[in-house]
């Protein structure tokens, strides 16, 4: 089947935002697809809005990029006029205003996460249509369908930073295993009072789930190394 290369660029995606005791952890996969072709296998879907607020993008790549550019611009102005860092609530509200007022033309779901001195770590979800919801954790994108049950069981309040990060990475990797439109690497961004930390988990460092096989060397590598190839075991 020919991949439709003129299909709009969309990010199939799995995006997650989780609060923990002291901040937030945002996580995402890295696959951008054009129809059935993977246009970018290492995209960065977690975009900076201000020093202390980041947004996870899903849906149409163009719409989400333009929207975050606009919000970054206005938040920058707002920060200058306010004289101090913008709050996460303001950032989420701006995203919501753009999303809601242009709902007929945009197709993008976003998760805003950040830390400010007034309310600490917060996660806001702005799905298609422009609703804004403050939640202790939220999931989005096509891969999120496979994570609702997982989070119901695994989420608990008052986690530590490491627990939260491990949870996010495990969740994204589970979604990647089941969702065709999610894949590549797992990127996380942790935001707290100390600042922002970006982490990267390559595809082969993720655990293998049910029926996932160990990576095998290709026949070409085996033959070129000179050793005789092993017969495949059933």
């Amino acid at each position: 089947m020919d991949p439709d290369l003129s299909a709009p660029h969309s990010m199939g995606t799995t995006i997650i935002g989780v609060t923990y005791d002291g901040g937030v952890v945002l996580g995402a996969d890295s696959r951008t697809s054009t129809g059935m072709y993977v246009a970018n296998r290492a995209s960065d879907k977690i975009t900076q809005l201000t020093d202390n607020v980041y947004v996870c993008r899903s849906g149409s790549a163009a719409d989400s990029q333009i929207l975050s550019d606009y919000v970054r611009y206005f938040l920058n102005q707002h920060t200058i006029q306010l004289g101090q860092p913008a709050t996460v609530k303001v950032a989420a509200n701006l995203v919501r205003l753009f999303s809601y007022q242009n709902k007929n033309m945009l197709q993008t779901g976003l998760i805003i996460g950040g830390w400010d001195k007034y309310e600490g770590g917060q996660i806001y979800s702005v799905p298609l249509g422009g609703t804004v919801l403050k939640q202790p954790f939220t999931i989005g994108g096509s891969g999120s369908s496979y994570l609702y049950g997982f989070f119901d069981q695994a989420w608990k309040d008052g986690m530590s930073k490491d627990e939260a990060e491990k949870l996010v990475v495990k969740a994204v990797s589970l979604a990647i295993a089941r969702d065709g439109a999610s894949g590549g690497v797992v990127r996380t961004v942790t935001i707290n009072a100390e600042g922002v930390t970006r982490n990267f988990y390559s595809g082969n460092s993720l655990p293998l789930w049910h029926e996932e096989l160990e990576p095998r060397n290709s026949m070409l590598d085996i033959l070129l190394s000179g050793a005789s190839p092993e017969p495949m075991s059933i």
């Binding site: 290369l5 709009p8 970018n40 290492a42 149409s60 163009a62």
Partner: protein, 273 residues
């Protein structure tokens, strides 16, 4: 004298007025003319000293090759070039437009243009046309902040990558890049790899063909290697080629009509209307 209504200034953008009429005509059975597309394989990669862009040279109009040696690597700025795939008119127009805007920006700021500037100008233009400007671009250049390579899609989304391919031959070219690309390639290795990727597109994709164009951009210097490789030479039956002397074709009759000057230029008063 008061006007009953205030005239609005003319709105910019594409006028969709004739689309209904076109739909009606297609329903009646009229074949709309096809767009001249650049089937295309375009690639870019970052090597140790900068950016290398590559493109094939075939322009197609449906199944026919309209131009066997077109130029798909467009000039944006002395340090920024852009390969274009999609509708040829759209890629030409959008790159020309942004190139002019960059020139004006250089005059105003008195600085070398940055790749991110070109990217933002392209992305906002394409997004506002919601994908109707069918231009898929590989934008590369070296500015004060270093070498950059971006892909721009018709709907306005962009990606920043160390190596990229676009166009109908992108899958063939990407296969070459994925197996052979490494960081910190030398200039010779980079040009070779780009040539291989484009050739992969030329030979395996019907929409791409003819020759390989390469453009190497480094800090302070750009080399536009037009027709760097010619892997599809025209072969003649006779190695001397053909000669068409008088007498090869039989002349049946001859009629010579001298062209007489019919119009007279009116002097003096012509410009004083």
């Amino acid at each position: 004298m008061e006007k009953a209504r205030v005239d609005l200034p003319p709105k910019g953008g594409f006028s969709f007025d004739l689309c209904r009429r076109n739909e009606m005509l297609t329903k009646k059975g009229l074949q709309l003319p096809g767009f001249r597309k650049t089937g295309t394989t375009i690639v870019g990669l970052i090597f140790e000293d900068g950016v290398i862009l590559g493109a094939d040279t075939r322009a197609t109009e449906g199944p026919i090759v309209a131009d066997k040696n077109c130029e798909k690597i467009h000039y944006m700025a002395p340090n920024i070039y852009c390969c274009g795939a999609g509708t040829a008119a759209d890629t030409e127009a959008v790159t020309d437009m942004v190139s002019s805007q960059l020139q004006l920006h250089r005059y105003a700021t008195r600085r070398e243009s940055r790749v991110i500037t070109a990217l933002t100008l392209l992305k906002s233009h394409l997004f506002s046309y919601q994908g109707h400007v069918s231009a898929a671009l590989v934008l590369g250049g070296v500015d004060i902040t270093g070498p950059h390579l971006h892909t721009v899609y018709p709907h306005g989304s962009t990606d920043t990558l160390p190596f990229a391919t676009m166009g109908s031959g992108s899958l063939a070219a990407m296969a070459v890049f994925e197996s052979k690309y490494k960081e910190g390639l030398t200039r010779e290795d980079g040009i070779q790899l780009v040539g291989e990727a484009i050739c992969s597109g030329i030979f395996n994709d019907l929409g791409s063909g003819s020759n390989v164009d390469v453009c190497v951009i480094t800090k302070g210097k750009t080399d536009y290697l037009r027709n760097h490789q010619l892997p599809n030479p025209r072969t003649y039956i006779s190695s001397r080629g053909y000669s068409f002397d008088r007498g090869h074709t039989e002349v049946l009759s001859t009629k010579i009509t001298p062209l007489k000057l019919k119009a007279e230029v009116v002097e003096n008063d012509a410009m004083e209307e």
